[in-house]
């Protein structure tokens, strides 16, 4: 593997890594003002984006103090009375419904990590292996279409086709068979959610992986071929290592979002299945806070989710470094 390794983000292995781990042949570090001056151009590059993020993200983030307040829009953020950790009680008062929601969220996140996350990678590899450029483009343009449907539409389409009075079941009944209960069935609900996500977003998500594939240096394939590597070994030794960085990056970012699964998708389909199976963290907050005009509660849960996300991302990033990967940052 070592010989056919793609250039693993050259900058990182040469520069950042030594600073963190092994004692470098210590160049004297220049004083900060010199570095600032040296990097002035690059720092200027970061300014527009930083400005946007600070103004439109961090500034309003201050408003999330309503997590500790009994906030009502007519009172104002600063005038609203403090209520301590009252808004957080939704999380730790041990309500069985909340625990069920947490459980369901984790199950769904696990399912999505196992089934949804790899799907576009596989599809990208499949597309990549196609010989005909035209077919490849055509297939790709077809498969990305569902991404543009809103969840309302996806749910409606699934219903029209698989629902109790949908195309499939109407066909079965008129031919004397029993209808199959696919929608609104607690037993199949997770499978349904997962397949909806796969259907909707797999094609779209391949785009990034295809772009990453295009970055792989063709010489590596040539070299591998010269070494006698066949189709599968090339896949294993050239293609996958080339994708590894972006896969890990995306996986870590997904981890940070672990506690959010398909809010709108689930809310739309919750009625028939029952909350016991379908309630997830976000719908729980919606049903128990937002619906009653309780803005503080959703801010509170947002904060907790953010903290959990940060911990997961930092942890996963550390883990990635253990394996010599760049992760999200170093």
């Amino acid at each position: 593997m070592a010989e056919v390794q793609t250039r693993p983000a050259p900058s990182e292995s040469q520069s950042d890594a030594p600073r963190d781990s092994s004692p470098p042949p210590r160049r004297r570090r220049r004083p900060w003002y010199q570095r600032l001056w040296r990097d002035r151009m690059y720092l200027l590059f970061t300014l527009p984006a930083l400005l946007i993020i600070v103004v439109f993200h961090y500034l309003p983030l201050i408003g999330n103090v309503i997590a500790f307040k009994d906030y009502q829009p007519y009172i104002g953020v600063w005038e609203s009375p403090w209520n301590g950790l009252e808004n957080f009680s939704i999380i730790w008062d041990g309500d069985p419904a909340f625990l069920a929601a947490l459980r369901n969220t984790l199950i769904l996140t696990a399912l999505q990590s196992v089934f949804v996350f790899p799907a576009p990678i596989l599809l990208a590899l499949l597309l990549n292996s196609l010989l005909s450029e035209n077919i490849k483009r055509l297939v790709q343009s077809v498969l990305y279409l569902p991404h543009f449907l809103s969840w309302v539409m996806v749910v409606a389409l699934f219903q029209q086709i698989l629902g109790g009075s949908g195309l499939l079941n109407n066909f079965l009944r008129s031919n004397g068979y029993d209808a199959v209960r696919i929608l609104g069935n607690p037993d199949t609900f997770y499978a349904l959610l997962t397949s909806q996500v796969i259907w909707k977003d797999t094609g779209w998500a391949t785009i990034l992986f295809l772009a990453a594939l295009s970055q792989i240096n063709a010489h590596l394939y040539e070299a591998a071929a010269v070494d006698g590597a066949g189709r599968w070994r090339q896949l294993w030794h050239v293609t996958l290592p080339g994708l590894k960085g972006i896969i890990i990056l995306l996986f870590i970012l997904r981890l940070g979002d672990s506690l959010s699964v398909g809010f709108e998708q689930i809310l739309l389909q919750q009625a028939a299945v029952g909350r016991n199976v379908s309630e997830v963290l976000d719908t729980y907050v919606y049903n128990n806070g937002v619906l009653g005009g309780n803005w503080g509660v959703s801010a509170a849960v947002g904060l907790v989710k953010g903290v959990v996300g940060v911990l997961l991302v930092l942890g996963a990033n550390k883990l990635a470094h253990r394996f010599g990967e760049e992760g999200v940052y170093r």
Partner: protein
């Protein structure tokens, strides 16, 4: 609620002493408010009801039942004198149920409306997500002059006091006579606009028009050889449904389980009932479990479309239009809409069922919710409040007047054509007139379907038959703070369980326990607040 609040706050006091203390105080404060406020509520004298006699309906209603009009009155009278506006732009924020209309420059109807109002109307319209729009606009503090206030906003009384104009002096008692079309709104409607003893807005009425019972495809029922489908009891009703169901050809009697209809047969309350000052929620009645049992029976009998639980009302209407289902429980407004949606279907007919008792006799029918919204006026508006009220009065001109004709149908030849005396909105009219002005102010609705006096007569007969059976929500006009903040969430748990029971996933026996939880989680608190409010009002 205050107990729960303080107990929780106490738990966290160790960690965050200061914050917990402030949490406690806010809890107590809320408690006090609820008591005082209702006391105030009944000191107000509601606007004196004077039915406008300028137009005589062929089928007269009363303060509850809707007037019926077989055709639009010829030569409609004008009831206002001159434009009510002050020449300055008036801004209005509203939710609308239709597509966004063309902007002012491309909209002759809007331009003409501005001319007739005497002020430019600046509209901020939203048709989906109004709750969010409303919340942010309130938070930002830049409310327009006139605002559509949804009735289910949390802490409505305090919101009204903080942001909107107190209309009590201007409308209470005989003062409303200044605005004859507003005086044409019955006291029952105004009660929904009173908080803390003051009048905070103008009611946009629905009430009887929104009363719902089973609508059915009379043409399809007749085709089955059933001349009088009216059931005599539940068993008869179930048999009727079975007769109208043919799963083999994918046809079902019902679009969804008509649980409210069954509950009407069992005499279950319209939300809350009151007896000698004691309040009971429908869930708590013994018959409620029986209604679930019966609903479950319907699901088992297969007379309900299997997608009924997971499909929204708009989509379910297609099942009625296409004859996939025969019955849908819906309102008088929907009754008309079915006709509009099926103008091209030859012989398409809709009628509404009456409610028998579960075991024979008479059932009850739940009165539709009184208000669509409250129209309130920004405290900080630069306009004289009487100007805004005059504009509202103009918008509330009743059916049959010239003002109404223009407001709903625009200008003849441009937006509508006359068929006899009936205005028929054309494409341009329907696109341009959807400005949401019916939510600025509206008269009581009227039964009217252009070109179909027979349908109006059937509707009128139906409402007459309903009248003795109508039951009202005893909590209407009584504010409960707990209901406003927690009502939806604890009701949501029960409605979720109800679905699971109807589907057979949970046993009927689970109901009683869930109702106990409901009581503990806020139901009893709401009851307490309502009873207290009721006592101050009637004691």
């Amino acid at each position: 609620m205050s107990f729960r609040l303080s107990r929780r706050s106490a738990l966290t006091a160790g960690a965050l002493g200061l914050a917990a203390v402030s949490g406690l105080t806010s809890g107590c404060q809320q408690e006090q408010d609820a008591g005082q406020q209702q006391q105030l509520n009944e000191q107000v004298e509601l606007p004196t009801y004077t039915k406008l006699g300028s137009v005589q309906p062929e089928l007269p209603g009363d303060d509850i039942l809707l007037d019926g009009f077989l055709r639009y009155p010829a030569d409609p009278t004008r009831i206002s004198d001159g434009p009510p506006g002050d020449g300055q732009p008036i801004s209005f924020m509203s939710s609308i149920p239709t597509a966004i209309p063309p902007g002012l420059e491309q909209n002759a109807y809007w331009q003409e409306m501005n001319a007739r109002v005497g002020s430019e109307l600046q509209l901020a319209l939203t048709s989906d997500g109004y709750a969010d729009k409303f919340a942010t606009t309130v938070a930002g503090g830049d409310l327009p002059d006139v605002v559509y206030v949804p009735t289910d906003v949390a802490q409505l009384p305090r919101l009204m006091e903080a942001k909107f104009h107190d209309l009590t002096e201007l409308l209470s008692g005989d003062a409303v006579a200044e605005y004859p079309a507003l005086a044409n709104l019955s006291p029952d409607l105004w009660r929904g606009c009173v908080f803390n003893g003051r009048i905070w807005g103008i009611p946009v009425p629905r009430a009887m028009a929104r009363t719902s019972n089973p609508l059915y495809r009379a043409d399809l029922v007749e085709a089955k050889g059933i001349t009088n489908p009216a059931p005599t009891d539940f068993a008869d009703f179930l048999a009727l449904c079975q007769e109208l169901t043919d799963t083999r050809s994918n046809k079902w009697a019902w679009d969804a389980v008509p649980i409210q209809y069954i509950q009407g047969m069992l005499g279950i309350a319209n939300n809350w009932s009151e007896q000698d000052g004691a309040f009971t929620r429908s869930y708590e009645q013994e018959a409620y479990a029986q209604s679930l049992e019966a609903g479950r029976q319907m699901v088992e009998a297969g007379v309900v479309n299997p997608d009924g639980f997971s499909t929204g009302t708009t989509a379910r209407k297609q099942w009625i239009n296409g004859g996939t289902c025969i019955f849908a429980r819906d309102s008088f407004v929907a009754w008309n809409q079915f006709y509009t949606d099926n103008l091209e279907q030859e012989g398409f007919e809709i009628r509404m069922l009456d409610t028998p008792g579960f075991d024979g006799g008479e059932g009850v029918i739940w009165m539709g919710s009184a208000l669509n919204n409250i129209t309130s006026f920004n405290k900080e508006s630069a306009h004289d409040i009487t100007t805004l009220l005059k504009v509202a009065d103009f918008m509330a001109a009743p059916f049959g007047t010239a003002e109404y004709l223009f407001k709903k149908y625009g200008v003849e030849g441009q937006h509508h054509e006359l068929q006899g005396t009936d205005p028929i909105l054309n494409k341009r009219g329907s696109v341009e007139s959807g400005l949401g002005l019916q939510y600025f102010a509206d008269p009581p609705m009227a039964l009217y379907l252009p070109g179909r006096p027979d349908v109006v007569e059937a509707q009128y007969a139906t409402e007459q038959a309903f009248k003795p059976k109508l039951v009202f929500d005893a909590s209407y006009g009584l504010y409960s703070d707990t209901a406003s903040s927690q009502g939806k969430q604890i009701d949501g748990v029960l409605s979720d369980l109800q679905t699971q029971i109807l589907l057979g996933e949970e046993p009927v026996s689970a109901w009683a326990e869930a109702v106990d939880t409901w009581r503990r989680d806020g139901g009893d608190q709401i009851r307490g607040e309502l009873e207290q409010a009721f006592a101050t009002a009637h004691g």
